[in-house]
Amino acid sequence: MTRWGMVIDLDRCTGCAACEVACKSENNIATVPPHQAEMGRVMSWMRVLAHTVGDFPDTHLEFYPRPCMHCDNPPCIKVCPVRATYIDPEGIVGQIYPRCIGCRYCANACPFTVKYFNWYGPEWSDSERQHLNPDVSPRTKGVIEKCSFCHHRLQRAREQARAENRDVREEDYQPACAEICPTRAIVFGDLDNPTHHVAELKEDPRAMRIMEDLGTQPKVYYLRARR
């Protein structure tokens, strides 16, 4: 059974945020005006979180590039009153924008706080609209959005595979963040397929998941930094 998942090697991450910007570009994530950003309404499906510990010069950084964890046991889908968020058979936690009523219960139920809400509708000038990705629908105001593992790419990959009468291969389907990462710290694939790189990496002794003890079974693994 296919279970799409991600392994992020913190030893390789340089915190450059290319994944963040690539994600915003790929998924038509709207930017918000400065005063909105100040209020904490920035949307960033992929975000490099950083937490600094210790005073100069014994400072070090705890950091995690954080997409949606795509839990196998997602707390968000249980609380949605309208089934707008759900887990699909291949393990991607989807958000169905035309169904969402915007109650934000899922956002509060998510211990990883990866759900983003469209407080206002997206604002693009005519020229900015040019760079919208035609594969991803822009969200309206008042709905929740979140990382989808770029599942529109899976839709295309599936179709291509179907046309060629074969299965979807590892390289056919890579989310924008994994594709762009300059240090290849983000690896994506089928966790249950032993030929995929992630299947091997998730067994690495350095592998761990965030707040594993909550039992949500995230499908995003982190490899602890060695340094």
Partner: protein
């Protein structure tokens, strides 16, 4: 009879009934007209599908070339029309107008009639080339129309999609089509 109802037993006008009727009128007539009126799809010329598909025997893919290869099936433009219409064809006034427009350098940009909301992942390739559905399944009898319809002939909504997917045993997963 309605006039009667609007007055109570003593012949006084029942104001709330008049109000209710007014609201009902707005709800039932005006709003749908506004809503539907705005969704009429205009076309540059009154294209006669019947003439082209039946009398001339042209296949759908003659004018909708990408139906088997891409997401959008494609619409004809001036280059397609120019294959024949650079000189007057037939007797109809509309055909003569096409020739005129082509001579005048008009681009003849046809408008999409069957439209998918942008949150739907739909490709013609998947449905026409791989699943081998016929055009009529979703487009109805458009090949036999003599004037361009102003509204889609088949209401392609989610129920329509899901009915067919159920019958065909195709995927019912939300993420398969929502994007």
């Amino acid at each position: 009879m309605i006039a009667q109802r609007l007055r109570d037993t003593r012949g006084r006008v029942r104001p709330y009934l008049v109000l209710a009727l007014g609201i009902a009128l707005i709800a039932a007539v005006v709003l749908p007209v506004i809503a539907l009126g705005s969704s009429r799809v205009p076309q540059p010329v009154a294209f006669n599908h019947l003439k082209h598909t039946q009398d001339l025997g042209l296949g759908c893919e003659f004018c909708h070339p990408y139906a088997r290869t891409r997401a959008h099936s494609g619409l004809p433009d001036v280059t397609t029309c120019s294959m024949c219409h650079t000189s007057p064809q037939g007797t109809s006034a509309e055909a003569a107008r096409v020739t005129e427009l082509i001579t005048a350098g008009d681009l003849l940009r046809f408008n999409k009639l069957f439209r998918m909301p942008d949150h739907v992942f739909y490709t013609h390739r998947r449905h026409v080339a791989i699943a081998e559905l016929s055009c009529e399944t979703c487009h109805g009898d458009i090949a036999h129309t003599e004037r361009p319809p102003v509204r889609a002939l088949v209401k392609v909504d989610m129920d329509f999609c899901l009915d067919c997917h159920r019958k065909q045993g195709a995927t019912l997963d939300c993420n398969a089509c929502h994007r």
